[in-house]
Symmetry: C2
Subunit: 449 residues, 2 copies
């Protein structure tokens, strides 16, 4: 089997056990929260027909194409790895529409692949966690509020992450505003304003006039709209103060206010929600609510959790399937924190207890103690070898296992030692439990060094 010392592949990050324990815990917390809200777990295959993957020309350069090594000619040409979870989900909904109940809520945590040039926070293989609600023909607006609430509820349970800011906007609001001030090419205005995070305000102002055909006053109003942001409903009056009127603008204001208000009971100091009128999301299929999310101190990562409302996720000629969803970039969020040593687990194994081994003949007795602890949900391993107890304790220390159990000797009394404090007490394998906070690995966040 493998025999040389291999080196990592750029763009394909892998985690050490302590880091993977964090990632697995994050996925478990997300999944449990999504299920509490009635979202069903779903997985799609990793491959899609190339023609599906290439419908948006811009992504063609990113697709990994598959070929069987021994394939003759192009007998299995035409398959590629998915680059997101939305395209396969849209295909799945169409393929299984007759067997699904709508509105259909699903979450999906899977790897995706993009042949991009790797850089920090951008990978060729990475994990996404998506939630979507999809309707048949119609999907009431309140589901926009729902997916925002569900994602906020999930993110706030990840208490070991740095603070997060969920930024919300509404395409109806900005498109209605641009129409209301008399722009001829609303899409072009939006495209230009979307550049605000890349080029200067003065440059955007120039492009609004030169490329989007606005006059100076119109351009100024667009920039003032984009500057509005509030964590409460203050943005509504701020927009009205600009004096632009349009039915679509009103609709967008009402919807955006409902999302901010709907999330208010769930947000706290760590997970905030902000109406941010700059956000537009480049992708052209969003039609109402749009989301982006920044990680405090890591704004250079860009948005780590994005999504919105799309009026046509899929269509099969007979029915159209509107949806609203958010996609959390799990690898983009976690891997930079791992690489900078900011986030880790306090142990590299799930075990809370190491059962010591007095001698090899006692293995069955030590195994029996371990099995009694496991039966009560306590992750336990048995020492690999009957070394001196000092060595067995160091074995536990190196893995971060907090407790070492010494099986009963001739006097029939078991003892358990907290190797952090050195405290050692008699204990009964039928009743002893570690403190709740020691039962599972604890996620630890340190300041960046």
């Amino acid at each position: 089997m493998a025999s040389r010392r291999p080196t990592p592949l750029s763009g394909f990050p892998e985690l050490l056990p302590g880091q993977r324990i964090v990632e697995a815990q994050v996925i478990r917390t997300l999944s449990e929260t999504f299920e509490l809200h009635g979202f069903a777990p779903l997985e799609t295959r990793a491959v899609e027909p190339l023609d599906q993957l290439l419908r948006k020309g811009e992504t063609s350069k990113e697709v990994y194409v598959l070929r069987r090594l021994q394939a003759e000619g192009d007998e299995d040409a035409g398959l590629g790895l998915h680059f997101d979870l939305t395209v396969p989900f849209a295909r799945y909904v169409l393929e299984n529409a007759g067997k699904l109940e709508f509105p259909f809520r699903r979450y999906q945590v899977q790897k995706v692949w993009r042949g991009e040039r790797p850089q920090e926070g951008r990978f060729r293989e990475f994990t996404q966690a998506d939630i979507d609600v999809v309707g048949r023909d119609t999907l009431p607006f309140h589901h926009d509020v729902e997916v925002a609430r569900v994602m906020v509820d999930a993110l706030r349970r990840l208490e070991f992450l740095p603070p997060l800011r969920l930024q919300v906007n509404n395409r109806k609001l900005i498109q209605g505003f641009y129409s209301g001030l008399g722009a001829d090419d609303v899409d072009e205005v939006m495209r230009v304003v979307d550049k605000l995070d890349k080029v200067s305000t003065d440059e955007v102002r120039r492009m609004l006039v030169d490329e989007a055909g606005l006059d100076d006053k119109q351009a100024e109003l667009c920039l003032r709209l984009a500057a509005i942001s509030s964590s409460d409903l203050a943005f509504v009056d701020d927009v009205r103060a600009l004096g632009v009127e349009h039915p679509l603008l009103e609709e967008g204001l009402t919807e955006l206010a409902a999302v901010v208000e709907g999330c208010a009971p769930l947000v706290d100091d760590r997970v905030r929600i902000v109406a941010d009128l700059t956000i537009a999301r480049g992708l052209d299929y969003y039609t109402g609510t749009v989301f982006e999310t920044r990680l405090e101190g890591y704004e250079w990562l860009g948005s780590i959790c994005s999504g919105g409302r799309y009026d046509a996720l899929a269509s099969d000629g007979k029915a159209t399937y509107p949806g609203v969803g958010i996609s959390l970039g799990l690898s983009r969020l976690l891997v930079p924190l791992f690489q900078r040593g900011v986030l880790t687990a306090d142990r590299s194994v799930p075990s809370a207890v190491l059962v010591a081994l007095p001698d090899e003949d006692s293995r069955a007795a030590s195994d029996a103690v371990a099995q009694r602890l496991r039966a009560r949900g306590i992750a336990t391993e048995v020492a690999a070898a009957p070394q001196k107890y000092g060595k067995q304790i160091r074995y536990a220390e190196r893995r971060g296992i907090p407790f070492v159990w010494f099986p009963a000797g001739d006097d029939g009394t078991h003892e358990v030692k907290d190797i952090r404090s050195g405290d050692q007490q008699p204990a009964d394998p039928e009743t002893w439990s570690p403190p709740a906070e020691d039962l599972r690995p604890t996620m630890v966040r340190q300041e960046e060094t």
Copy 2:
């Protein structure tokens, strides 16, 4: 986005929500059990360098090669999708050896890909769940017993599966036996005996003489050895009764007896362990204990859970990494049961409760009830539309949601209805819980129709 009605891809099975709920539950139970035994969760990237994947020539035809659609020349040639979890794990151990603590226990649940011709129970994309213990330079035998116990402990918790039979053998036992009876080419004898599940006994007898160079008496002894099987230690006397002696045979007998005895406290009517002296496992790297597993009534699936001891999982010139592991073919086990309608969940959503919606203005009140139930771990969704209550109850029925909650009207009393029995009672959202068996979807096994 997607717009035609797509059709399934042969060899890439996908699950309906109720089936995926079963698969997710199986993965959760397996993961929890593996962690109780101190196995750390691990994931490796989906791709490996082709030269690593092709080291065993026999698998070359199965590998999917990757190419970026816009790659020029062969700039990213040389990557393929992994076809199992052992090759990537061996590479991971070598790559990270300096950062791992040995013995290193890990479990890994991931998709793998093989370009084989699809048939029932054989897929091009499928999920495996592997456990392995790996040592540096040495790995004591007791870990063979450990991985058998861990897998039995995990499988017996999947109570909704058909009965399973874990078959164990030991390569030292059979190789020692062949040496002891004077075979010149032990490997060739093993290769021929391994055909017993495909060709007749008489044909194997002929091949043992013609191809492996045995005389009639030696061939007969080989066949009698292969016929031995017992769920207790009876096999030891049965082997001794054949009168063959060899130190390696003795070692194998002792080890096999230890595995059978070590698992005895865990097995029951549903998960049995059998010493079965036919089992050899074709792969040449096994050196001691070998495992296979049959699903009762689905023997045609072949082994759904296999593994064994390998003295060199990997080697980097400085150190050798021996290991012992078992791989559960999750898709091979579950997909045929889904396709035959034998296994499903009693609901297609995680929700235990649907909160009814008297009218659209009451949505905030219904959401608040739902959030109070979720805060106590009860998966809850709110009705999508304020239809007549009869329609809302049918909405719950179609998804298999057992309870419908009617929020308090003017009298301040909430009520909850078990829609299976029709029983409706007053309830307090701060204290009411469904019966424990209704909290999560239940896995249902039906006889094959």
